[in-house]
């Protein structure tokens, strides 16, 4: 692990810091929204530590606040989080070889850490990016959720600060280098079209999984070349 920290550079830390700052504001709003929805202050805190997937946490609390059952909230959250399985298959080896690295590293598998890892070509740098992003976001998100849950309503709507645009823009910036490859780009564009077309008809989380159908574009081209 020591080599992981040695390969860090100021640019990586600055980039990770920007994403962590955004996550902190969202985390504070998650804590505040949960308490406003009638949950005890420790519930969003426990949830953030153990689930550590913002989208599914907002969704689960939203389902219950809207009158849904806890079972429905869990199901909606799990469907949304199913993408972590293909993510893990794709970047699983950046976590490290040891059992501890995998057990702990798997918990840090989120959209942002995957994006930071695939933005680096060199495996050592990818590992450093994955771990520093994961540790920073875990800390920022959870501290902010505690603060939000305790301070409560004082935090306004993060949408007013445009923070919902910061997340996709950060992911886009991190995936742009991979999109230089034509086959990857075709697959990503087809996949996004499938996801967008499916969104009005399917529950959240499923359209993004269907985007994997875009991989046929990559397959086709491989076959055409051989």
């Amino acid at each position: 692990m020591r080599s992981t920290w040695r390969t860090q550079d100021p640019k990586l830390l600055r980039d990770v810091g920007a994403v962590a700052a955004g996550a902190a504001v969202n985390g504070a709003s998650f804590g505040a929204i949960s308490v406003a929805a009638g949950l005890p202050w420790w519930m969003p805190v426990v949830m953030s530590l153990l689930v550590f997937a913002g989208g599914s946490q907002f969704m689960a609390v939203g389902v219950v606040a809207g009158g849904g059952s806890p079972a429905a909230a869990v199901l909606a959250g799990l469907v949304l989080n199913a993408r972590h399985l293909p993510f893990g298959l794709a970047v699983g080896d950046v976590l490290g070889r040891g059992l501890l690295a995998r057990v702990v590293g798997s918990h840090l598998l989120i959209d942002e850490t995957v994006a930071f890892a695939i933005a680096e070509r060199d495996p050592a740098r990818a590992r450093a990016a994955y771990w520093s992003c994961g540790v920073a976001l875990f800390a920022a998100w959870n501290v902010a959720v505690v603060a939000g849950a305790l301070v409560g309503q004082a935090i306004g709507d993060p949408g007013a600060f445009g923070l919902d645009a910061a997340f996709p823009a950060a992911l886009l910036a991190l995936t742009l280098p991979a999109l230089k490859d034509r086959r990857t780009r075709d697959a990503a564009l087809l996949g996004s079209a499938i996801a967008l077309a499916a969104t009005p008809f399917l529950p959240p989380g499923v359209p993004v999984l269907l985007a994997l159908g875009g991989l046929v574009a990559a397959l086709r081209r491989t076959e055409a070349r051989t």
Binding site: R14, D15, A18, G22, M43, V46, L50, A53, P70, A73, V74, G77, L78, N81, A82, R83, H84, L85, P86, F87, G88, A90, V91, G92, L95, R102, V103, S106, L109, A115, I118, F161, G162, L163, D164, A165, A166, P168, A169, A170, L171, L172, A173, L174, T175, L176, A178, R183, T184, A187, G191, S192, A195, L196, T199, P204, P207, V208, A211, L215
Partner: protein, 102 residues
């Protein structure tokens, strides 16, 4: 929301996360399948960008959000620093909303 529900969601989510890195070792995949698997991460992330910037729930997200992401994307494409990309996207969306665009 009950504590049991939180624990089930946490366990299920962690199982999804751990399955990938563990399965990856068990499976001996041909090179092309391995290549496809790393492409799949990019495909999922880009689809996430598309749905997170254009949709809210099952409908259209409004213009302020995708325009902000687009401004950030153009900045990234023009090799602007990452922090600037994120700030530009958020600031554009915030300004458009402040000006009354949904």
């Amino acid at each position: 929301m009950t504590l049991t529900a939180v624990l089930v969601l946490a366990a299920g989510t962690y199982a999804f996360r751990l399955a990938g890195p563990l399965l990856r070792d068990r499976l001996r995949l041909p090179d092309r399948a391995g290549e496809l698997m790393s492409t799949s991460a990019t495909v999922l992330l880009v689809a996430l960008v598309a749905t997170a910037s254009l949709t809210k729930g099952q409908g259209f997200a409004g213009w302020a959000l995708p325009i902000g992401v687009l401004v950030g994307g153009v900045a990234a494409w023009r090799k602007a620093p990452f922090v600037l990309v994120v700030v530009l996207a958020a600031a554009t969306t915030a300004a458009l909303r402040f000006a009354g665009l949904p």
